[in-house]
């Protein structure tokens, strides 16, 4: 929106790096735990090692890829349904600073 440099704790490259490192480490630990903990299961599919991790990852990638493709035929501009098209978000904006 405007060209100022992002400031704040969560915009420091170091912070982001550390958050991601911890996150990756947790992911690895969760997969390792799968081999230690004896899961009680109800279906054969669940026998696949780290099934839930794999499924979660693949499901979300497929979800996002299909959704992006859907944009090609579903997306219209913001005023698509506006009959009198006199409204845009800037005009509608009603900000409250009490």
């Amino acid at each position: 929106m405007n060209n100022h440099k992002p400031s704040g704790f969560f915009y420091q490259p170091n912070t982001i790096r550390w958050i991601l490192r911890i996150f990756y480490a947790l992911c690895v630990l969760l997969v390792l735990a799968d081999f230690i903990v004896h899961r009680h299961i109800l279906t054969n599919i669940e026998k696949i090692p780290a099934f839930y991790a794999l499924y979660g990852f693949v499901a979300c990638v497929i979800l996002v890829l299909i959704a992006s493709q859907m944009r090609k035929f579903l997306m219209r501009d913001e005023q698509y349904y506006d009959t009198d098209s006199s409204e845009s978000i800037t005009e509608k904006a009603e900000v409250n600073h009490d």
């Binding site: 992002p6 400031s7 996150f23 890829l65 506006d82 009490d98």
Partner: protein
């Protein structure tokens, strides 16, 4: 004192409150909006199970109030929603919204307590009539039109319910609600009527159309009631209906695709609401006691965590003026409390252990597997991963983090923060001590969500869904937030139907003009032709010689003779 309060139906206090608000002003009016839910809740605790307020209408014996565990749970829930919503809306001085929200909650409570079809129908329509004012309260042209569409759809649902109920009463002679089989027109009519309010596929778009058009506070009430009344009606009347499993799975899966590409964050929540109702519908379709418990428990939790998320987005809307993901980001710096509370809601809807979604969603998934629907279970698992993706990550990430939009606003007003705080506390409380909720469920529960397998598998699912988000973002594959509108089922009646009508109008108009032209052309041609032969000395006007007349007469007679001769043979 209690006898006085028990002498009128449990929903009446809300209507009295709404009526009183007409005459009250300022702080007193605001106080009434939160005093009524509290008072009514206390009174409700004294109500025993059973049937009350029998009345007779056109020869039918009706029951205005029927209290059992199922209806009581929903009534508690609506009281809770009214209280949280009331606190959230304390700063609002708009009389229309205050009155509409109290009357709306009263109608919801009336609907779940309705002991027969006719009473249910009355509250069903009252829900529509009272809630539409919360949409119109935005007072924008688009909210007006959206409210109109909402009203048409809701009233249609009521008409179908009424038609179905009358047919059913005619067939069975009983006005009582109970488990129906989908084998008659009446049952189908009722099924579709409930389906509209429940957001079945293709009947759902009023939710995503109207809810984001309401005011920041109005949406909080809207998302708590109408759809949950429908879930209640399904649980009461269609438990164990196989078709519901398929419908529920579609509802759980398709909205998440829309949610990923939607830019208006309140609309994202509306899609995720359909997704969550999908889980409940599946549970009702499975129909075992455990599954119904799961569905009802999930409805309870959904009202709280979806309300919390809606409130956090409402706070952003209130401060920033819009909730378009494309123009937000970095708000955690100016709205830290809202950020944290939103994340609690996000964790709850995503079913993180220790948060409320975890203790209810898993019951439905487990029952799906036990009923032998492995594919259905895989789809629900997909939906569970998807909901984390769009509601758990997308909402907080694009609003409060993502790219720094440079927006600098104030923290949400104190009453909003308190309301969100109550919601968040309930999410954590129910998530950590599920037995509180389990004890309120209609059937006895023997289930513990906290075992090692469940916690581990759920964490794996969620963390790797998050990993997918991180990976897609780094690869630049994640669809950016774009100011846009995505075509959904409402396109059918907002674009296709009007286009068809315009087309029909044009065809009729063209046909009409053609007929008019042809008639006038033939008439004028005929007149001209007659005129030409009527001019002086023309064929018809000039004098004829006598022998011409004789020849003509003879020819005529020959023709007549021939005709008669041919007729003889």
């Amino acid at each position: 004192m209690t006898e006085l309060f028990l002498s009128f139906p449990p929903f009446l206090l809300f209507y009295i409150g709404a009526f009183a608000l007409v005459f009250l002003r300022g702080a007193v009016a605001s106080a009434v909006t939160i005093f009524i839910p509290v008072l009514s809740f206390v009174v409700l605790l004294y109500w025993p199970h059973g049937e009350f307020f029998n009345y007779s209408l056109m020869g039918m014996d009706l029951v205005l109030v029927k209290i059992d565990k199922l209806s009581l749970l929903f009534a508690y829930l609506f009281h809770l929603a009214a209280l949280i919503g009331g606190i959230y809306a304390l700063h609002v001085k708009d009389k229309v919204q205050q009155i509409a929200s109290l009357a709306y909650v009263g109608s919801g409570i009336g609907a779940v307590f309705a002991g027969d079809w006719i009473s249910l129908f009355i509250f069903w329509e009252l829900l529509a009539l009272t809630s539409v004012f919360l949409i119109w309260a935005s007072r924008t042209p688009s909210s007006y039109q959206s409210g109109m569409r909402y009203l048409v759809v809701q009233v249609l649902s009521g008409v179908l319910l009424f038609a179905g109920a009358l047919l059913l009463i005619h067939q069975t002679g009983s006005v009582e609600q109970g488990v129906l089989e989908l084998n008659s027109l009446s049952a189908w009519l009722i099924f579709i009527a409930i389906g509209i309010k429940c957001g079945f596929p293709f009947l759902h778009s009023w939710i995503t159309d109207a809810y984001p058009e309401s005011t920041p506070t109005g949406t909080v009430f809207l998302c708590a009631l109408t759809t949950k009344v429908a879930v209640y009606a399904l649980a009461r009347n269609f438990a164990g209906e196989e078709l519901l499993i398929t419908i529920g799975l579609v509802m759980a899966c398709f909205p998440i695709f829309y949610a990923v590409i939607e830019n208006d964050l309140r609309r994202v929540l509306a899609y995720s609401m359909i997704n969550q109702i999908g889980f409940m519908v599946c549970g009702i379709g499975i129909g075992t006691e455990m599954a119904i418990n799961g569905a009802v428990a999930h409805a309870f939790n959904d009202v709280i965590f979806k309300g919390l998320l809606m409130m956090s987005m409402g706070a952003v809307l209130y401060r920033v003026g819009h909730v378009n993901g494309s123009h937000l980001g970095g708000l955690y710096k100016s709205m830290p409390k809202t950020t944290v509370l939103c994340i609690v809601g996000a964790a709850s809807i995503s079913a993180f252990p220790l948060f409320s979604g975890f203790v209810s969603k898993s019951i439905i998934m487990l029952e799906m597997l036990e009923a032998g629907h492995t594919v259905g279970w895989l789809l629900l698992l997909f939906a569970a991963a998807g909901v984390f993706h769009h509601a758990g990550i997308k909402i907080p990430f694009f609003a409060f983090f993502a790219h720094d939009s440079g927006l600098s606003v104030k923290e949400a007003p104190i009453n909003m923060v308190v309301a969100m705080g109550i919601g968040a506390s309930l999410c954590i409380l129910i998530g950590s001590y599920p037995s509180i909720l389990y004890s309120l469920l209609p059937f006895p529960m023997d289930y513990s969500p906290y075992d090692v397998t469940h916690v581990l598998t759920q964490l794996q699912l969620l963390f790797f869904s998050a990993l997918a988000f991180v990976w897609l973002n780094m690869k630049g594959l994640y669809p950016p937030e774009l100011p846009s509108v995505n075509i959904d089922a409402d396109w059918l009646y907002r674009r296709l139907a009007p286009a068809v009508i315009v087309w029909i109008k044009e065809v009729v108009e063209k046909g009409y003009t053609l007929v008019i032209r042809l008639t006038s052309y033939t008439t004028s041609a005929g007149i001209k032709w007659l005129a030409r032969y009527s001019e002086p000395q023309s064929l018809l006007a000039r004098g004829w010689a006598i022998h011409f007349m004789l020849i003509a007469l003879m020819l005529m007679m020959i023709i007549v003779l021939l005709f008669n001769y041919l007729r003889q043979i």
